[in-house]
Symmetry: C2
Subunit: 206 residues, 2 copies
Amino acid sequence: MAKPTLEFWYEFASTYSYPAAMLVEQRAAEAGVEVVWRPFLLGPIFGEQGWNDSPFNIYAAKGRYMWRDLERICAAEGIAYVRPSVFPRNGLLAARLAVAGLDEGWTPAFTRLVYQANFARDQDIADRDVLKPLVTAAGGNAEAAFEQAASDGVKARLRDHVDLARSRGIFGAPSFIAPDGELFWGHDRLQQALDWVIKHPTREFA
Amino acid sequence: MAKPTLEFWYEFASTYSYPAAMLVEQRAAEAGVEVVWRPFLLGPIFGEQGWNDSPFNIYAAKGRYMWRDLERICAAEGIAYVRPSVFPRNGLLAARLAVAGLDEGWTPAFTRLVYQANFARDQDIADRDVLKPLVTAAGGNAEAAFEQAASDGVKARLRDHVDLARSRGIFGAPSFIAPDGELFWGHDRLQQALDWVIKHPTREFA
């Protein structure tokens, strides 16, 4: 029987998506759940909420708390963390590459490497020279991947992800969606989302 | 030796403060921690962030998620819950009463009763007739409590709580603050906050 699935919706600029990306596959495997990787962009969704910057920059007290909280989470989970010198970084190209890798299967490894570049090595994930070796290390063909990332097909597929996210009620990242449509927001809801999938493993509407 | 303390900062209109208020004392007792009850108002702090309504009303998708999430939390914790027909309700008078009860010790019981009125019985917690029996049931003298709640002293003390909250970095509710100043935001951080207090039981600056 096929494993039940959990959709993992993430945005490369999102801070709390970092620990989620590093942990989701292992935690899901322990629960007997398969992860469906869903790179998307929060920018368009935030824009509709009237934000043209991260809410963690717009709301200073919330931002200060988030950085401390992220540091605590990474320490507790044993995840390397260095506060990025630039925030948020533009994750558009990385997201297109992640979409390009979905069918070939190197997206999960690539995603983790991109988050580590941003949040553990303070690298600019909008820089092609930063991303190129990450595609290779994840098992992709860098030249072909960048070509695909620039194609209309991949651009459209990423836009579709954003539209789908919006229509499923997503307003932040990371978000998790169970097969029955149940939405969980935040790294701290990962285990709850997995528990939900185990109890509600099938789509409500086939 | 005195027990280490955890400050519990709450606002009566705050949805996630409801499960926190219902659970904090029991969870703290299990951890060997004493709760310091800190009623305050989020309105002035939200106003400085440019919000003149709950962010859950301003941001519709976030609001829809919050109501579902609150329902899940209450179900998981065995806490009665009925979605209020009015949100947010004005918690100013209730907060003043809660401040009035601090020295006499009936604030914790009163706080739980007010949250139950709002989030389990859909009652208007701005209504004196709703609040009066709750003061009595919590062990206070209703007439004296309302008189105190209208006094300059209690009004000033509540304003001081708001100023103190702001200066400690609080931007939402519920929030928990450990003796060393460490801040935790959200009902879902209660256990983490208690664990922190056990490891850091004393004030950094005596």
